[in-house]
Amino acid sequence: MLRLIVRRLLQLVPTLLGLTVLLFLWIHRLPGGPASALLGERATEADRRQIEAALGLDEPLWVQYGRWLERLARLDLGTSTQTSRPVWEEFTLRFPATAELALTAMLIAVVVGIPLGYVAARRRGSWLDAAAVSGSLLGVCVPVFFFALILKAVFAVNLGWLPSAGRRSTGIDATEVTGFSVLDGLLTGEWDASLDAVEHLILPGVALASIPLAVIVRITRAGVLEVLTEDYVRTAESKGLRQRVVRGRHVLRNALLPVVTTVGLLTGSLLSGAVLTESVFAFGGIGRFVADAIDARDYPTLMGFILLIALLYVLVNLMVDVAYSVIDPRVRVN
C-alpha cells in the first residue's frame, strides 16, 4: 500500500511540472502585463520598463521560469502584484471559504444522494424511483448560478429563513483560528458563531450540491441495480443471511465503488465550480480573486493559485484511488 502511494506521488511530479511549464507559457502570452495593468493606459514606456525590471519581467522567459521554480523549491510562491502580499498568505486567507463551501456541497450530495439512489434502485419503478430519476436528470440541466439565484430568492428573501449573502452575520463576534468558520467556532467554544456559519453555508451548499447530487443519485442507482442481479447476492440471500447483512456487505459495498471514484472527480470540479455560487452569495472565496488576478495579469498569484488547486485535485484523486483499493480487494492485487 505504502509503495503504491509513494509511486503515485512520484508520478504526480512530472505531470505537475509539465503543467507549470504550460501555465507559465500561457500566462505570459496573455496580452499586456502586470506593469500595464498596474499603471493603467496612460503610463509612459519608461515607467513600464522600470516596474518590469523591478518585477524581473525584463529577463528571458526561461530565466524567469527558472527563478520561479527555484523559489518554489524553497516553498516560496512569490508576491502578488495586485496586493503586494505573499501569494501563500492570499491563498490561505481565501481558501477556507471555498473549501468549506465545497465540502458542504459534497456532504449534502453524499448524505442525500447515496440513500436516495439506493432506495430508488430497491423500489425500481415506484413513484420514488421516478422522482429520483427525473430529479437527477433535471439537476444537471439547471445552470448552477440560476439555481442559486432562485434558492436565494425563495429561502432568503421571501421566506427569510436563511441569510442571503456572506459567511457571517454582522453582530457575531468570532475569533479566527483556522479560517474555517464552523471549525473556529467549535475550537473556541463560540457555538453561536458556528451555528451562524452553518446557516450561511446551507443555501450556497445546496446550490453547489445540485450537480454532484444528481450524478451521485444516478450512479448509486445504476450500481445497486447492477449488483442486485449478481449471483453472489442471490447466494447470500438464499443461504439465509439477514437482509441487513446482504444489503450492507454485498450490495452497497459493491455498488459504491463507482460512487467513490465519482466523488473524487467531482471534488475537483466543485473547487472551480464554486466560483459561480460564491459570486451569487458574495461568499469571498478564491474564485473572484483568481478572476481578478487574470485581469490584473498577476502572474505570481495565477501560477501559485492554479498550481495549488491542481495539486489539491490530484491529491484528492490519489486519495480516492487509495480508498478504492481499501474497499475493493481486487484492485489491491493488481
Partner: protein, 323 residues
C-alpha cells in the same frame, strides 16, 4: 489516474459487446429500442422543436430582436419594466426590445454555441484519444510511449480548473461568442479523448481484429476500417450529453461576463446574464424577474432534451439492460 477512467471504460466496454443471439446489429437493435422509449421520444421532440426554432426563428419573430422600439417605455433606474401584453407576448427587455422575438432569434446562437463547442471538444478529443488508443494497442513500444505522453497531457487538462481555463481564453481573445465556444470546447477535450481511447482498447482484443490481422490486413486499415467504427458508440452518447453541458457552461461563462456583449446577436446565456442584475428576488413573476426566467427556462428545457436523448441512447446501447 487509472480508476477515474473506469466509468468511461465501462461505457466503452458495454458497447463493445454485441448481441449475437438475435442476429440484429447493435445499432439496429438500439434504434428499435429507442423508438419504444418515452425518454428518447421526449428528448427528440424537444430537440426537434429547438432546432426548428433555431432555423426559422428569425422569420417567426414578430419584431426586430435588436430594435429598441419601445425604449421610452422602460425606466431601468426606477425599475419600471413592461410585462407581457398584446404585441409583446413576453414583455420588453431592459432596452425596450421585444423579449419574445429575442428568445426566438436567440435559439440560433444558443444552438450554434452548443454545436460548435461540442464539435471542438469532439474533434480534438477524438484525435488525441484515437491516436493514443491506436498507438497503445497496435504501436508496440513506441506506441506505448506516445500513449503515455498524450495521456499525461490529457491529465494536465483535467487537473486545470475548467472555469479558469475559460477565463484565460477570454483574456487572450476578448469577449465574444467565439471565445465562449472555444473555452467550452477545450474543457470537453479530455473527456472525449479518454472515452475514445478506452473504447478502442476494449475493441483491440476482439476476435474480428485478430482475424483481420491474421489475414494480413495492414495495421492502419485495421484501426481505421475495423476498430474505429466499432468504437464510436460511447462517443456518440457522450456527444449528445455534451451538447447539454455546453449550453449550460456557455450560460455560466456569460454570467461571469465572458459572453458576447454584442446586442445584435441575442443568445440565451447572455440574455440570462444581462437580466440577472434586474432580478427581483421578492417576486419571481415580476417582469424584471421574467427577463431572466424566460431564457433560463429555454436553457433548462433544451439541455433536458439533449440529456434525455443521451441517457436513452446510453440505455439502448447497454446490453445489460436488454430485456
Amino acid at each position: 489516474m487509472t480508476i477515474r477512467t473506469e466509468k468511461l471504460d465501462r461505457l466503452a466496454e458495454l458497447t463493445a459487446r454485441r448481441d449475437t443471439t438475435t442476429g440484429a446489429g447493435l445499432w439496429t437493435e438500439a434504434l428499435r429500442r429507442l423508438r419504444g422509449s418515452k425518454m428518447a421520444l421526449t428528448g427528440a421532440a424537444v430537440i426537434t422543436v429547438f432546432v426548428v426554432i433555431a432555423v426559422v426563428g428569425p422569420w417567426l419573430a414578430p419584431h426586430d430582436p435588436t430594435a429598441q422600439t419601445w425604449r421610452d417605455e422602460v425606466f431601468v433606474n426606477r425599475a419600471l419594466f413592461v410585462g407581457p401584453r398584446s404585441g409583446n407576448w413576453l414583455g420588453l427587455d431592459h432596452l425596450g426590445r421585444d423579449q419574445f422575438s429575442r428568445l426566438l432569434v436567440g435559439a440560433r446562437h444558443t444552438l450554434l454555441v452548443g454545436v460548435v463547442s461540442t464539435l471542438i471538444g469532439l474533434v480534438a478529443g477524438a484525435l488525441v484519444g484515437g491516436v493514443s488508443g491506436a498507438a497503445l494497442a497496435f504501436g508496440g513500444r513506441a506506441g506505448r510511449g506516445l500513449d503515455t505522453v498524450l495521456m499525461r497531457g490529457v491529465d494536465m487538462l483535467l487537473a486545470l480548473p475548467s472555469l479558469l481555463l475559460a477565463v484565460s481564453v477570454a483574456a487572450v481573445m476578448g469577449q465574444s461568442l467565439t471565445t465562449v465556444m472555444i473555452a467550452v470546447g477545450v474543457v470537453q477535450i479530455p473527456v472525449f479523448a479518454r472515452l475514445l481511447r478506452g473504447s478502442m482498447l476494449a475493441q483491440a482484443h476482439a476476435d474480428y481484429v485478430l482475424a483481420a490481422r491474421a489475414l494480413g490486413v495492414r495495421r492502419r486499415r485495421v484501426v481505421l476500417a475495423h476498430v474505429l467504427p466499432n468504437s464510436l458508440g460511447p462517443v456518440i452518447v457522450q456527444t449528445t450529453l455534451a451538447l447539454a453541458t455546453a449550453i449550460i457552461e456557455a450560460a455560466a461563462l456569460s454570467y461571469l461576463g465572458l459572453g458576447n456583449p454584442d446586442a445584435a446577436q441575442p443568445e440565451w446565456g447572455v440574455m440570462l446574464a444581462q437580466a440577472e442584475r434586474f432580478f427581483v428576488p421578492e417576486d419571481l413573476l415580476d417582469q424584471a424577474s421574467l427577463m431572466a426566467v424566460c431564457p433560463a427556462l429555454g436553457i433548462i428545457v433544451t439541455a433536458l432534451g439533449f440529456t434525455l436523448l443521451g441517457e436513452a441512447l446510453r440505455e439502448a446501447l447497454d446490453p445489460k439492460l436488454r430485456g
